[in-house]
């Protein structure tokens, strides 16, 4: 009942539904409180919709520090526990270089270059089956 209030004056991050996929576009400088709020929003959206895929677009993000990196990893982990597959897309080259040097390589997080490729990926492999689709082999 008592959800933490976002910092006044900072709009929440919109979560867009495209069929069974949720698309989250992170923009600019994300305050810590907003990032934590987003984690809660996304998991609730997954629980209340039939979403089995989640695309996190970070092409508009200047920096990812260890806090935001952890939030993204935790969003992906909680989405997975709720049977949704997460794909991260659009990471800028400077951000990728910095993350590696920081020691945060986000293993286990699926990545593609841009949102279009992320949606293609889900189109090819619907139902959140992930890369391992061997059990349905004909």
């Amino acid at each position: 009942m008592t959800a933490p209030l976002p910092v006044p004056g900072t709009p929440a991050v919109p979560v867009l539904a495209l069929g069974n996929i949720l698309l989250v576009t992170l923009q600019g400088d994300l305050h810590d409180g907003m990032a934590e709020q987003l984690q809660q929003d996304i998991t609730e959206r997954i629980a209340h919709s039939a979403a089995d895929g989640l695309v996190i677009d970070v092409s508009g993000v200047d920096i990812v520090d260890s806090f935001l990196g952890r939030v993204i990893a935790e969003i992906a982990a909680s989405a997975r526990l709720m049977a949704a597959r997460t794909v991260l897309c659009g990471m800028r080259p400077a951000v990728a270089i910095t993350l590696v040097e920081l020691g945060l390589t986000l293993p286990g997080l699926e990545t593609v270059l841009d949102a279009a490729r992320a949606l293609e990926l889900f189109a090819q492999a619907p139902s959140g089956a992930g890369p391992d689709r061997s059990e349905g082999g004909t």
Binding site: D32, D62, I63, D65, V95, I97, T98, E101, G103
Partner: protein
């Protein structure tokens, strides 16, 4: 090598909230861009600043950030100082270890930030607060402005 850091040109910013962290990142970015740091170096410095400013807020109970442009002959650099009056760090060496955390994070803040800049120094005593100083110099390879030599 004693880089000229004129206290008169230092910009002090308070660190007391999420919004302050964002403002520190914004200001550091602006300084770094003006000094001619390339995009990758800017990103590293802003990321390091974000880690340390968050430490100041979360572990130090708030404090301030001081941004000072540096000049050393033809070289331009940026000094960032993060000051808090919190509990201090008991074991600095341990705190600098990858994966060590007391705050529920990933334990990459200090050790990671050190890799992102040229120098990182910590002054701390238990109960006496913490002062972390970062220095980064514009690397010639990534400088935005062509070096006039």
């Amino acid at each position: 090598m004693t880089p000229a850091s004129d206290p008169a040109t230092a910009t002090s910013l308070p660190i007391g909230s999420d919004a302050d962290l964002a403002w520190v990142r914004h200001q550091v970015r602006q300084f770094a861009a003006e000094l001619g740091f390339g995009l990758v170096q800017q990103t590293k410095i802003v990321t390091a600043a974000s880690e340390l400013a968050r430490n100041t807020l979360v572990h130090g109970g708030g404090g301030q950030a001081r941004i000072t442009p540096l000049r050393n002959g033809p070289a331009s650099g940026l000094q960032l100082v993060f000051i808090d009056t919190g509990p201090g760090i008991r074991d600095v060496e341990l705190a600098m270890t990858d994966g060590y955390t007391t705050g529920g994070g990933l334990g990459l803040g200090l050790s990671g930030a050190r890799r992102l800049v040229d120098e990182l120094a910590i002054e701390t005593e238990p109960g006496q607060g913490t002062v972390v100083t970062l220095v980064a110099w514009v690397s010639r390879a990534s400088a935005v402005r062509p070096g006039s030599g």
